[in-house]
Symmetry: C2
Subunit: 458 residues, 2 copies
């Protein structure tokens, strides 16, 4: 540690920003398992994936050996509109906690999509445009990803069709309007516009939808239209690749001030943020250069890492997507209705699942009232109103800092603050009114989801 | 202009941030007219103002000769949590417009209050704390100021009582919840908690309130409680003083790259943002060192500068506040119900009013559909979703840039982007659905407001 005083916010210069993404799979000796064709159970070929995804993104998805991939200049230019994001020293939080720990957070909420999702949205839109496509389809739950994709498509004049989980479409009209302001069309899912939507509506009239349903609809819509492809905001290896811009910036910012983190913490739903944040650091561990603790934080009500099974499973409810090997609660699992935030996907990215399985990463689950308690504490001293998702990481960062207070250790803690909570005030209102409750699924609840995981032949 | 390439975002280093506010009144030969006691019509004394405002803020309010005032270290430290704000080169907007103009905007929306209001809120809370007060009261309309003050009070452990215009309280529950998350108590105004509120409710049962009513209630509440003072988010000279941090940062950022602006544009409601942005530049003009064009932009539906009278008037509906000399539409003026954003105050800060009267500043009024058109155009290329208020400045910046396109002039345009529009999606929805309309008050409409302006003896 140098004697140079650490500022509140460390910003990189534009010429220090990453020009390549880092592909952590290249440094993994045991690679994440490949996507499988659900019919043949053989690894998906580039041709098969090319029906669903853009060609260049298929290449990125399948490439587990190239460590660095160039960020096209147009994407670098777009990144400059809202990046580099600040790495903030949480001086005020440290003081409030009375901890000797040094806490840093990488804040990704300073863009209109309100989260890190834009980092991959702009890349996926760019490749779609390069391929001469007319547009893309996607699903969105809470709406961060849909907003980010709408912004990216608007920038490249691409059509953008978003299937939004019906309950969110109705309860979050503002999110919907942001997407419309950026020119996207937004359809509540399940809908009558797709066969899979119609089937789901027939089987479950009055259903308010799920992320898994919306994925199925978006995939069907993309593959049924000339000049369209499907894009996804998390889980996939290509998404984690794009999100490494978070980790690369964080690493460079820390190095500028000779700071070495002890613990790196991120919330984990599908894994896009944590995967992006930890990749460059994990690379050092995989190459035997350094040692860090990594902690994935997930909701106790959707505990794919801490209580799920490591198995091949469907990525969507309609079972139209490839099979992925991941920690999963089963594609039929839907978190309890009282669960307020995002982080409600049934599975976890194959990359993070494999790293966790190899013991290179820890996982912890937290209950939502304790998450909102941490969110409010953070907001009051650090100024930023955090998204419920991001606040999972805050919870564990505070817990670790309080442990340091007990032991007297001055550990350096880095966490990802993925976004802002402006569109989550209904949840904050519940918390403010003392009406928020916790829910931990029983083993029997989980078993129902596990029963839907397909049996694989040996 | 140097050959050094201008980055997308110019950030100052922490050690380049202002350590003093600039008081433009010190350089004005003809000073803004003093606040008057409505009973005696004599200038308000420090003792009289001290019943309403904190002592140190009274000093700042009355001091029109000291050019620079130190920013206390605690406030500088708080500023570091969200400042310096970026000065952004609008490369993407310039390209979209095909203009030779160079457009810059100072973006104040990157904090949880979502606007520049925090710059003064933290100062006012600090001085209240220094004076040993228990808390402060205030009013809020759209909610940006109330949010900012809640954050500032939470930081200093001060009680914060916000009177929120009833229509906003009901239509903007999320704003209300942000304030509650920061620990403020929020009361819909008019309320039964004050005499002036009761009177207004008796006279106008079912009224949805106005900013002028809420001010009266907040002042009554503050003066009726031991250890409380009233604080205000705009109009006052002390507020413009604190907001000069915007202009000082902007000036230094431009100087770092040898950029000289031709036109400086800001939206103007009470004048806090524009006053803060233009003050240091206006100082150069007043001292005969430089020449710039300044343009204040206001809504056509609340045109205090372009169609108001320059006269002493009440600052609030209940007429409990001092009289201020300002461009005013009369304290009884309420903008048409179809007016979507803020910028709905009947008067304009005395400083800006006097500068405008001296011909040192221009003013322009714009209609709201053209404002939202500019907002959407800006959002799609620059990424940021602007507040309706800020978008008034965007409208005129675009208009000026398009004039440059016609004439071929490469003027440098700087405008203030005061905040984000996350809590204004109802207005965006109206615009997206083609349901937004314009309204320009007739001369007869305005006359009703003018009739309420008090007659002053010669």
């Amino acid at each position: 540690m140098s004697n140079r005083e650490i500022p509140y916010k460390i910003y990189l210069e534009e010429n220090e920003m990453p020009t390549q993404w880092y592909n952590v799979r290249a440094d993994m000796k045991k690679k994440p398992a490949p996507l499988l064709n659900p019919g043949t159970l053989q690894p998906m070929t580039p041709e098969e994936l090319g029906h669903v995804f853009c060609d260049e993104l298929v290449k990125q998805e399948l490439d587990d050996t190239t460590p660095y991939m160039d960020i096209p200049q147009e994407i670098q230019d777009f990144y400059k509109m809202y990046r580099p994001s600040p790495l903030v020293r949480a001086y005020c939080l440290e003081k409030k906690l009375g901890t000797p720990a040094k806490i840093y957070y990488k804040f990704e909420g300073n863009n209109t999509s309100g989260s890190h999702k834009l980092n991959s949205a702009i890349a996926q839109a760019y490749y779609a445009k390069q391929q001469g496509l007319k547009g893309v389809t996607t699903e969105t739950g809470a709406g961060q990803w849909g907003t980010a994709l709408s912004m990216a498509c608007s920038y490249f004049d691409l059509d953008c069709k978003v299937y939004m989980v019906k309950v969110s479409y109705e309860q979050k009209p503002f999110r919907r309007e942001v997407m419309r302001t950026y020119g996207a069309s937004v359809t509540p899912s399940p809908s009558e516009t797709t066969n899979v939507g119609k089937k789901i509506l027939e089987a479950h009239p009055g259903t308010t939808g799920s992320l898994g349903c919306a994925i199925s609809e978006a995939v069907e819509a993309a593959t049924g239209m000339e000049g369209y492809r499907y894009v996804l905001g998390s889980v996939l290896s290509q998404v984690l690749l794009h999100q490494t811009v978070i980790g690369l910036e964080t690493k460079k910012a820390l190095e500028k001030y000779d700071i070495t983190p002890d613990i790196i913490i991120g919330c984990a739903g599908g894994g896009s943020n944590l995967g992006g944040l930890l990749s460059p650091f994990m690379g050092e561990v995989l190459r035997g250069e350094k040692n860090y603790r990594f902690i994935a934080v997930e909701p106790a009500s959707c505990p794919s890492l801490t209580r799920g099974k490591y198995a091949y499973d469907f990525c969507d409810t309609g079972m139209v997507c490839p099979l992925a090997k991941m920690y999963t609660l089963g594609s039929g699992f839907i978190p309890s209705a009282n669960h307020a935030g995002g982080l409600r996907y049934h599975g976890m990215s194959s990359i993070l699942s494999e790293l966790y399985d190899q013991g290179l990463m820890e996982a912890r689950s937290v209950e939502q009232t304790s998450v909102f308690e941490a969110a409010e504490q953070f907001a009051r001293v650090e100024g930023i109103l955090p998204a419920p998702e991001s606040s999972h990481a805050i919870r564990v960062a505070i817990d670790e800092a309080l442990k340091c207070k007990e032991t007297g250790e001055a550990k350096t803690i880095v966490f990802g603050l993925t976004g802002t909570g402006y569109f989550d005030m209904t949840a904050y209102e519940k918390y403010n009114n003392g009406e928020m409750s916790d829910y931990i699924p029983t083993d029997a609840d989980l078993q129902k989801g596990f029963d839907g995981i397909p049996q694989m032949p040996n």
